[in-house]
């Protein structure tokens, strides 16, 4: 299964959802999409707008072999914590997908890790889905030092 997720952002992500709907038709694999505020409604894949419980998203991520995600911090954080390979498609200002191009910042850093790809032009998305085989593992060291720091500082 492939899970596509575009987070809670108030703008839609037409470019990604339309392209994934086209690709879903050609794939031999189930595609599920969380489309947020995107106007286009997929025909070839299961989809929903938002979910009420975070656990449902985590469960979908766990069941998938690959996640295709917008470049939001929360979305990417959740996928990394579940240790799943992902293709990040940053929302771009020029397509009215975000109010700025901040999603590129995180994508540019994470592209250096095994199991993370970044696609800016959705015309290359299908090729990348095929290229990322079924056994891609993600290599990202989880440290979470901030949690330990806050426990100390707030407990004082």
């Amino acid at each position: 299964m492939i899970f596509v997720t575009v987070g809670m952002h108030y703008q839609g992500f037409e470019r990604l959802i339309k392209m994934m709907d086209e690709i879903a038709l050609e794939l031999d694999e189930k595609v599920v999409m969380q489309i947020g505020h995107t106007k286009y409604e997929p025909i070839n894949a299961d989809w929903f707008r938002f979910i009420k419980k975070d656990e449902v998203i985590k469960d979908l991520i766990n069941k998938s072999r690959l996640i295709i995600a917008h470049g939001g911090a929360g979305t990417i954080l959740t996928i990394l914590l579940e240790r799943k390979p992902m293709i990040i498609v940053p929302r771009l200002k020029k397509f009215e997908e975000h109010f700025d191009d901040q999603q590129i910042e995180l994508a540019e850093v994470l592209v250096n890790f095994n199991g993370v790809s970044v696609i800016y032009d959705v015309d290359y998305l299908k090729e990348e889905i095929t290229r990322l085989g079924k056994n891609t593992n993600i290599h990202f060291e989880i440290r979470a030092d901030l949690i330990h720091y806050l426990r100390r500082t707030v407990g004082e």
Partner: protein, 147 residues
């Protein structure tokens, strides 16, 4: 200690929920935006209408925060962003409550709108990438990240 966790409802909330185990044993409550997701938040919470870029709603949010803090009397206000933290931290500063602001994990080379303002207000200003120390200045500190 009673801690007000103030953040918007998307990625900023995901970061806060990731950090929440740090506050085990403390009395915490959320101030966040109304959304299908926060309706089912499993922590005590106050929900506010999304401010976005609307200055009028920012004022409404400030008055709501005054009423919430008056009722709850927190010892500390902690935020992972975004703009919902601006009225909360301004208020906390005025009434002398300790404030901790954590810039989002997605900020690696540029400042957020909220961070730009709260750098001058928060008692503690934390960034999640060492590169950001230079971007902000002396007051910013790096103590690790959510991941």
């Amino acid at each position: 200690m009673k801690i007000a966790l103030v953040c918007s409802h998307g990625g900023h909330l995901t970061e806060m929920l990731r950090l929440i185990e740090a506050f085990e044993g403390q009395d915490v409550f959320f101030v966040t935006y109304i959304s299908p997701r926060t309706e089912h938040l499993s922590y005590r919470n106050y929900l506010i209408k999304n401010i976005g870029t609307n200055p009028f709603r920012m004022m409404v949010c400030l008055f709501k925060t005054i009423s919430i803090f008056g009722n709850e009397k927190p010892d500390c206000v902690l935020s992972t962003g975004s703009e919902i933290a601006i009225p909360a931290m301004l208020l906390a500063k005025v009434i002398g409550i300790r404030t901790i602001f954590i810039e989002s994990w997605c900020r690696i080379s540029t400042k957020s709108f909220t961070g730009r303002i709260l750098y001058y207000i928060a008692d503690e200003f934390l960034v999640q990438w060492p590169q950001m120390l230079k971007v902000y200045g002396k007051k910013a500190r790096f103590e690790g990240a959510v991941i």
